[in-house]
Subunit: 166 residues, 2 copies
């Protein structure tokens, strides 16, 4: 099978870090290697994670943000839409769309808040509650698969470092 030709096949890979600042040349690339920057590495790691997420959750499964919302709602309480967004690191515009799509699929319900007419309370539907155990099982498998390249100690270290970057 012809594998997808990777970048390495067609591009002269600068390989590892070279201490030599290449001088002389007109370009003067200024010693900046995109592939070593934290933003690029995080983006790639996230892409892989999301691919794993979709593979394990399956075609009808929730997206990562949809699952995040359902996970928080699985505690059982009704939560205002904006607060749920804060709990799942989504701004009001983003959580709105996520909840709308979950509601379309019958997994959550939206109710007016009797104490505050601005608020919309969100909770899992019966169908949503039934889905939770299976989703949590898959979510654990997703975390395990994402961290599979690392040993236990390395994974713990990574999580601790990531937690300090927010």
């Amino acid at each position: 099978m012809s594998r997808q030709d990777s970048v390495a096949d067609t591009v002269t890979k600068p390989t590892a870090r070279q201490h030599k600042p290449s001088s002389a040349s007109t370009a003067a690339p200024m010693d900046y290697v995109l592939d070593e920057q934290v933003g690029f590495l995080m983006r790639r790691a996230q892409q892989r994670h999301i691919a794993i997420f979709q593979r394990i959750m399956g075609d009808n499964g929730p997206t990562p943000t949809q699952f995040a919302a359902m996970s928080k709602l699985s505690a059982g309480e009704e939560i205002s839409q904006n607060l749920l967004g804060r709990m799942t690191a989504m701004d009001p515009a983003t959580i709105k769309g996520v909840i709308a799509r979950l509601e379309e699929r019958g997994l959550v319900e939206r109710l007016p808040d009797p104490d505050d007419q601005r608020r919309v309370r969100v909770r899992l539907s019966a169908k949503g509650r039934e889905a939770i155990p299976g989703l949590l099982e898959k979510a654990k498998a997703i975390t395990a698969a994402t961290l599979a390249p690392l040993s236990r100690e390395e994974a713990e270290r990574l999580l601790a470092l990531l937690a300090r970057l927010d």
Copy 2:
């Protein structure tokens, strides 16, 4: 050596759950804490990074993916659009939009490839080349600001771990 034992068992946090095994309640939350999962932590860390990126690049600056494309093009060679996508971890549909927006702003040019009529060659425009030194300077500041909560050793460890997750 520490074999790659399934990370699945590392998920079982010894710290989290309080002792209430009898579970008189219906919920049985199953020992899953969203905020400790690698996907959630990466998403949050990325959100913070992107906010830093936008703050330092400024209102007229490129987005992270736009800058990634410009950075790769700054080596000076003309690159086919799809290959540039591979080099910057974007699929063909994504890189198309990124290049289109850079072209609208006069930072890159698209040319037909004389050797392969399917291909579109992309290169920096004069305006794009002029912008590169300032952008690289800011990009370094962005990396530094993103990693600021960590010591140098911790940052190196994080980058090494992230690099193994893709």
